[in-house]
């Protein structure tokens, strides 16, 4: 399976009379974008804004972040199950608007979370301070239930991102990256002497505001299965998760799954990248048993020598992580885990809710309890009053001078557990 990602480097996004891409600038007709969002009759209004790296802008509360892409060759379309049919994706050519993102904000529940600062201390921790962000601030019609609102906001972002991606359909990319995934037989023949390495990708799947979708299917109702790594690049995995800003995986990070990228980078050189296993993180303990049993079974069946296991979220998923680790190690398959930590503000507490000696190789995204002081920024997109009630913030977080004192966990993707960032802890 071969996928070519054509990267179009975007340096700016501007509103203009006509939606188009010229050079490295994406021009958007504001009314066209609004119309796409307002097709959904559960949405009352939408405000658009653009936030650029280095600007004195804070976006909060962030629901999801998506990177616009378009399938230009091969089966299906991006975000299968949502904005395109469920045709299998992952093959052919896909153009990517690299350097921009579509960010959704809106008050789904009162304690919603997620801060993106485009400048200053907070900007160091979020990857989305480096992208030009089109922000959709979405307000629902009166009386809309939270789960319907969440779905409306999720869909609005996917639709807008798909439409913006379409602008890049006929653009010649600035850079092409080729990802070729061998079948099991090909891999064995081509690289008989390289270690066989896989990736167990854990998906948050606990309930409202904690869900992930694979080809449109709610991951909590799935058995552990396999997905081709290139399918992930075409938006096969979509986030419906908006709790725990620091360590949830926004759709953008799924589309750019860093573990998949790094394993591809080593494929055929130091290792044979055999495949990706997706498994869920359910609330029900029997589900956890079954899902982790299946992860281990698939690892064994694939004859893997090692797997990287990435996590999403806090607490309950620590149990899934450790179960996966123990069972996979018990099959003689070596594991490296990626997690983050809640070690208390002073770093002195036990970091994970579960632990085991089998977990002897761990990469961490850092301690999410660390307190950060974010300066007052000139402009706020979204709703600053929620800073007091986002995860990791507390009454008094918003200082009289407009600055924010809060835990690192308020910052979107600051301690990402797919290893997207450089933050760590010792």
């Amino acid at each position: 399976m071969k996928l070519e990602l054509g990267l179009i480097h975007v340096t700016d996004v501007q509103f203009g009379p006509e939606s188009k891409i010229e050079g490295s600038v994406v021009y958007l007709n504001e009314e066209e974008i609004k119309k796409i969002v307002l097709e959904d009759e559960t949405i009352k209004s939408v405000k658009l804004d653009i936030a650029r790296p280095g600007e004195s802008v804070r976006i909060t509360p962030v629901k999801d972040v998506v990177e616009p892409r378009v399938k230009v060759e091969g089966r299906g379309g991006v975000f299968p199950g949502w904005t395109h049919k469920v045709d299998t994706v992952g093959e052919g050519k896909t153009n990517v608007l690299k350097g921009m993102a579509v960010v959704t904000t809106g008050k789904i529940v009162g304690f919603q979370e997620g801060v993106i600062d485009m400048v200053g201390e907070g900007a160091k921790y979020t990857p989305f301070s480096k992208t030009v962000n089109l922000v959709l601030d979405i307000e629902p019609v009166e009386g809309l239930k939270q789960h319907e609102y969440e779905k409306a906001v999720r869909l609005a972002n996917l639709k807008v991102s798909t439409a913006i991606g379409e602008l890049a359909r006929n653009i010649t990319p600035d850079e092409v990256k080729v990802y070729e995934h061998d079948t099991i037989m090909e891999g064995i023949k081509k690289y008989p002497d390289l270690p066989r390495v896989g990736y167990v990708l854990m998906l948050q799947s606990q309930g409202l505001l904690h869900d992930t979708y694979v080809y449109g299917v709610d991951a909590k109702q799935t058995l552990t299965t396999m997905i081709m790594p290139t399918e992930i690049f075409d938006g096969a995995i979509v986030s419906g998760n908006c709790v725990s800003a620091c360590d949830k995986n926004p759709t953008y990070i799924h589309e750019n799954n860093p573990v998949v990228e790094e394993l591809f980078a080593q494929h055929g050189k130091t290792l044979n990248f055999v495949g990706v296993i997706i498994t869920n993180e359910n609330v029900y303990l029997a589900d956890k048993m079954r899902s982790s049993d299946w992860s281990a079974k698939l690892c064994k069946y694939l004859g893997l020598d090692g797997v990287i296991i990435s996590q999403e979220g806090f607490g309950n998923p620590d149990t899934d992580l450790i179960m996966n680790c123990k069972k996979i190690e018990a099959e003689g398959v070596k594991t490296v885990l990626i997690t983050d930590e809640y070690a208390g503000q002073d770093g002195a507490s036990q970091s994970l809710a579960d632990a085991d000696v089998a977990a002897d190789a761990v990469v961490t995204g850092g301690n999410a309890n660390v307190v950060v002081h974010l300066p007052k920024l000139d402009k706020v997109i979204g709703h600053i009053e929620y800073v007091d009630t986002i995860a990791g913030g507390w009454s008094g977080s918003l200082q009289p001078d407009g600055s924010i004192i809060a835990e690192l966990q308020v910052i979107t993707s600051s301690t990402n557990e797919q290893g997207f960032g450089k933050l760590s802890a010792r």
């Binding site: 309930g207 904690h210 709790v243 303990l285 507390w394």
Partner: protein
């Protein structure tokens, strides 16, 4: 299935079809009640720390345990004990607007999240 909860919305949704043990108290009181039931031989069915809301953020907690008592289940004992330890770790960081101090305007949303999380386990089993 027995559901231990301090969330009135969970009680009203499930009390007709399941045994609901309603706890007058906080998140920790629910954990402690579940610990007692586990020590009596009930088995944990859902993870006590479900959800990404930290224990010092949401005031509500619902946990499902087996209706039947059997021999004490060691895994359940360990999991509930570890969960209580984790709770205590977070409880040290007091938030004026969170946990037990959550203002009225946020309570309904916290109840809803708790309800949907436990429903994701109860409704499918």
């Amino acid at each position: 299935m027995t559901i231990v909860t301090n969330n009135p919305d969970v009680k009203s949704k499930y009390e007709d079809d399941h045994t609901v043990v309603f706890v007058e108290g906080g998140y920790k009181d629910v954990l402690v009640k579940v610990r007692d039931l586990v020590h009596e031989g009930h088995q944990l069915l859902t993870h006590p720390l479900m959800g990404s809301l930290k224990p010092n953020e949401t005031p509500y907690r619902s946990i499902a345990v087996s209706a039947q008592k059997g021999p004490v289940d060691t895994d359940s004992v360990i999991l509930i004990s570890e969960s209580i330890e984790t709770f205590d770790k977070f409880a040290k960081i007091v938030r004026p607007d969170r946990g037990t101090n959550t203002p009225e305007r946020l309570l309904a949303d916290f109840r809803l999240i708790d309800l949907t999380l436990i429903s994701s386990a109860v409704d499918f089993h």
